[in-house]
Amino acid sequence: MIPVLFFAFAALLVGCSLMVILHRNPVTSALFLVLAFCSLAGIYLLLHAEFLAMVQVIVYAGAIMVLFLFVVMYLNLKRDVEHGVHIALRRGAGWILGALLLTEGFWLFGRHWAAGPASPHEALSAPVGNTEAIGQVLYRRYLFPFEITSILLLVAMVGAVVIAKGRGPHVGRTPSPGAATAPPAGPQEPA
């Protein structure tokens, strides 16, 4: 039963990842990525990492991808139209490099294929749930990185507001065809 579930989630994950990079419309790619994140959360559940599965859905699918979709719809991009021989050459080179990387990875690690099941310590984790186990390690050994992460998020928040807000007369204006020319007053590039 569990291998069947794993294969289903894995196939969904790989299929959605391929559709993310292959589809022309950015909105469709973002939605496929949301589905990929949810299938990855399912795989986390199979690995008995329930807290991470829920955090994956809430943070990645629920916050990061929503931010992506906001920006995609704000920029109002059309379908990607790329023609030309040089585009096809670069695309072919990209696919060949990807296949090469995958083959190399499988060949390098094929001899020392990681043996053993992915979840051998069933009895050890039975007394405490996944959330409590993570909490016991996070707030004792990793308390300092936890606090630093909060500062990191604050810095990112301030930085995102400053960069996206901009300066000059175009603050608060939605992108228009006239924005291609340089605005008359003030430096526009983010400091």
Partner: protein
């Protein structure tokens, strides 16, 4: 139970799909999404190994990777919005002022 090698193979495949996405696509948003795919593939490896060793350190690292990815997405999309406001394009080929 699921062998660890299956998890690692899946992680490798998703990572390579992310790499190909960064190399092949010219739309900055799709490149960001491919970077998120790569980060998630690595997260899967971390969780699988954490389960294998029976320790929580791998899952803690996944926690931090997720928070850093969230911060990176926020700042990266802000930069993209600022670029798009000035240049009216999200194609990374058109933003080449630093090119020699």
């Amino acid at each position: 139970m699921i062998p660890l090698s299956w998890m690692l193979a899946l992680s490798a495949v998703v990572f390579v799909i992310g790499v190909v996405g960064v190399l092949v696509r010219r739309n900055a948003l799709i490149i960001f999404m491919s970077i998120e795919l790569m980060l998630n593939a690595v997260n899967l490896s971390f969780v699988a190994f954490s389960r294998q060793h029976g320790q929580m350190d791998g899952q803690i690292f996944v926690f931090f990777v997720m928070s850093v990815a969230a911060a990176e997405v926020a700042v990266g999309l802000a930069i993209l919005v600022a670029i798009f406001r000035n240049r009216e394009t999200a194609n990374v080929d058109d933003v080449h002022l630093l090119k020699g």
